[in-house]
Amino acid sequence: MTFWYRFATLVLMGTAADPIQAFTQQEYKYGFVTDIETDSAPAGLNEDIIRLISAKKEEPQFMLDWRLRAYRHWTKMEEPNWANVHYPLIDYQSIVYYSAPKAAAGNGPKSLAEVDPELLRTYEKLGIPLKEQELFAGVAVDAVFDSVSVATTFREKLAQLGIIFCSFSEAVRHHPELVEKYLGSVVPHTDNFFAALNAAVFSDGSFCYVPKGVRCPMELSTYFRINAKDTGQFERTLIVAEEGAYVSYLEGCTAPIRDTNQLHAAVVELVALDNARIKYSTVQNWYPGDKEGKGGIYNFVTKRGKCLGVNSKISWTQLETGSAITWKYPSCILMGDNSVGEFYSVAVANNYQQADTGTKMIHIGKNTRSTIVSKGISAGHGQNSYRGMVKILPGAEGARNYSQCDSMLLGNQCGAHTFPYLEVKNQTAQVEHEASVSRIGEDQIFYCRQRGVSTEDAVSMIVNGFCKEVFKELPMEFAVEAQRLLSVSLEGSVG
C-alpha cells in the first residue's frame, strides 16, 4: 500500500561521536521530475495572464471579475515581513502562473484513456491509485498535477449521496452558484498579500460540498505536485458542509528537487453550517531544501474554517515536515453558538528549514470552545516558531480555550520560539496555556542502546511518543504514514 516519506532527522546534542548526527542524511525520495510537454504561459503577471488563465479554464464571467478585482487589489498591497522567517525577495514577474500537461490543458480528460501515460506513471511512483479498482481503503482521490486536475475517482459513488467532490475548476463550471455563494466568504481577497495573489491566479484545487444530513462515507483526499520550473502553485480549496453534514478530508503533498525556490501560496476555505463537522488533515512533505538550505518550497498558505452554524465543529490536524519555509496558520472563526475549533500540529524544522506556524482561534458566538496542541521539533539549524492567537470578542460569553505548545530541540544549533497572543474581551472567558521545551538527551539514547535498540529506533520512538497526542487525531491510515514519515525524516531509513 502507500507512500513512504523521508524526513530529516533529529540531531542529538552535539558530542564528538554524535550518534544521532548520522541520521540527518537522507535523500529526498520524491526527487524525480516528469518530462511531459507542458502548456505554459510566459513568466510574469498582468491582467492579460489572468484573462488567459480564466479563458483556458472556460470560466464564467463572475469568476474572471473576481480574479481581476483581487489582482487589482494585490497590486496595491505590500508583501508582509513580520514573520520570523528570512528569505530572498521573490520576483513575482519571473514566475510562470499557468502550466498544464498538454493533454489536459483547458479541460480535463473524460477518462483515464485520455491521460498522458507519463502522467499516470508519475502517479504510480507517488503511489496514487487512479484506477478505481485499485483504490484502497475506499479513499477517493482527486489528483492534481501542477495546475490541472487530471482525474477524479469515486465521483459516481459520492454523487449518489449528493456529495460533490471534484476539482475546483470543474466546480466553477458545473456548480457556479455554490462557488459564488461561498468563495471568499472565509478568506476574502483583501485578507492578506498571498490570499490576494491566490485569488487572482489560482489554478485549481479541490471542491467539496456535502448536503444536509449527509455523512461522507470515505476519507476524501488530494495530492499536489509542483513540477515545471518556476511554477508557483496557487491551489484553491473550498469545502462546504451543510446542516448536520460530516466530511473528513486528507491533504498530502510531494514535490521534486529543484534548484530555485518554488512558491506555494494556497488558500483553503472551510464552511460548516449548523451541527456540521469538517475534519481537515494534512501530511505535508514538500521539498525542504538540501542540507545547505538551497532550493526547497516556500509554503505560504492561508487556511481558515468558519464555524458558521450552531454546534458546528472544524478540526485541523497536520504534520508538516517539508518546505524550506513554512508560513501558515490554519484557523477557526467560531461564529455559531457552541461551536468548536481544534488545531493539532506537529511541525519539523531541520537543516536550514524555517517555520513560522500556528493557529488563530476567534471566539465570536456563545459557549464556544477551542483546543490547540502544537508540537514543534527543531533539529540541525532549523528554526521553528509557533505563533498562536486566541481572540475572544466581547459577545463571546462562556468561551473556553486550551492551548498547549511543546518544543523539542535536537542539537544545539536549532531554535524554537513561541509567540502566543491572547486578546480577551469577555470576562466569562476561560483561557489556559501550557508550554514546555525538551530535548532528547544522550542519556536517554544510551539507555535505549543498552537495551539493544539502535539510535535510529530510539530517536524515532521518543519523537513518536512526543507527537502521540497529535497523531492520534489523524485518520488511521494517515497516522501510520505520519509515524513512518517522522521516523524517516529523523533518521535516514524507514523503521
Binding site: T15, A16, A17, P19, S438, G441, D443, Q444, F446, Y447, C448, R449, Q450, R451, G452, V453, S454, T455, D457, M461, I462, N464, G465, F466, K468
Partner: protein, 253 residues
C-alpha cells in the same frame, strides 16, 4: 564468558581504570566493592559501551568475541545488560512498547522470530507476576514519575524480560529502603542460573546478604586490589575501606 585483561580507561583526560583483570564464568556471581572514586561505576559503563568513556588499553572478550569493538546495542543484543545506577525517564514511550522493541531487536539479531504483541504481553505478564510487580507499570512511560525504588525494580523487571547472559548491576541497592531492597534482591536472585553471569557493583555489603556472591573483588584507585570469597565483603564491612589504603601503601613499599 567475560574476560577482562589489563583494561584501562579514562573520562575527560582523567585516568580512572588503571589495569583491571577479571574473569567471570557462566553461573558465577561476582561482587565489586570499593570506596567512592575507585572506578566501579566506570568499569560498568565501559563494559556497556558508554561513549564518554575512552578505553586506553587492554582488552575484553565476551563469549569469545571482542567486546570493545561492538557498539552498545550489539553488546546488549549479545546478551550484556546493565542495570543503571540512575535510570533515565523516557516520556511518551510506554514500558511495554520500549521492552518489546528491545526484546525483538535482540531476537532479530540472534536469528529468532520477533514476538507479536499477544505473545509479548503474555511473557511480560508472567515475568511481572514472578517479580510481584503490578501490571499497571507496563502502560506507564518508561520511569516517568517513578520513585527511586520503582526505577530500580523496573531495571530488574527489564532484566527478567530480556534474559541476558551477563547482568551488570551498577549500585542497584543505592537509595533503597529495606522493603525495596528485599524486592530487588529477590528479583536478582531469581535470575541466577548456570548459564548466566552476574557482576554486582555495590558500595555496601547489605545487598550481598540477600544475593550471596561467589567472588568478591575490591577496587581501589582504578585497580582490583583484593579478591576473595563472600567473607571478604564482611571483612570490609567490619574494617572499612581505610584499611585498604594502608594495605596498598604497605604493599608498594
Amino acid at each position: 564468558m567475560l574476560d577482562i585483561r589489563n583494561l584501562q580507561a579514562r573520562v575527560e583526560e582523567k585516568e580512572i581504570l588503571k589495569g583491571i583483570d577479571l574473569a567471570i564464568r557462566a553461573g558465577e556471581v561476582h561482587a565489586i566493592m570499593g570506596p567512592n572514586g575507585s572506578g566501579k561505576s566506570t568499569l560498568a559503563n565501559v563494559l556497556a559501551g558508554r561513549e564518554s568513556y575512552q578505553v586506553t588499553g587492554g582488552e575484553v572478550r565476551f563469549g569469545g568475541r571482542d567486546l570493545l569493538e561492538m557498539p552498545p546495542e550489539d553488546r546488549a543484543r549479545e546478551g550484556l545488560f546493565l542495570a543503571f545506577q540512575y535510570p533515565v525517564e523516557i516520556p511518551g514511550v510506554s514500558n511495554m512498547y520500549f521492552l518489546k522493541a528491545a526484546l525483538n531487536a535482540r531476537r532479530k539479531y540472534n536469528g529468532m522470530e520477533e514476538l507479536d504483541a499477544m505473545d509479548f504481553l503474555q511473557l511480560v505478564k508472567e515475568k511481572a507476576a514472578l517479580l510481584g510487580l503490578n501490571d499497571a507499570l507496563l502502560q506507564r512511560p518508561v520511569n516517568e514519575g517513578f520513585s527511586g525504588g520503582e526505577k530500580k525494580r523496573n531495571e530488574i523487571f527489564q532484566m527478567a524480560v530480556l534474559e541476558p547472559r551477563l547482568c551488570i548491576l551498577d549500585e542497584t541497592d543505592s537509595g533503597l529502603d529495606i522493603d525495596a531492597l528485599k524486592a530487588v534482591a529477590n528479583g536478582i536472585d531469581m535470575m541466577r542460573s548456570a548459564e548466566r553471569g552476574m557482576l554486582l557493583v555495590t558500595h555496601y555489603q547489605r545487598l550481598l546478604n540477600y544475593v550471596v556472591p561467589d567472588f568478591v573483588h575490591v577496587m581501589y584507585n582504578g585497580r582490583i586490589v583484593r579478591s576473595g570469597g563472600k567473607e571478604l565483603a564482611l571483612e570490609l564491612e567490619q574494617h572499612g575501606y581505610a584499611w585498604l589504603e594502608q594495605e596498598t601503601a604497605a604493599a608498594r613499599s
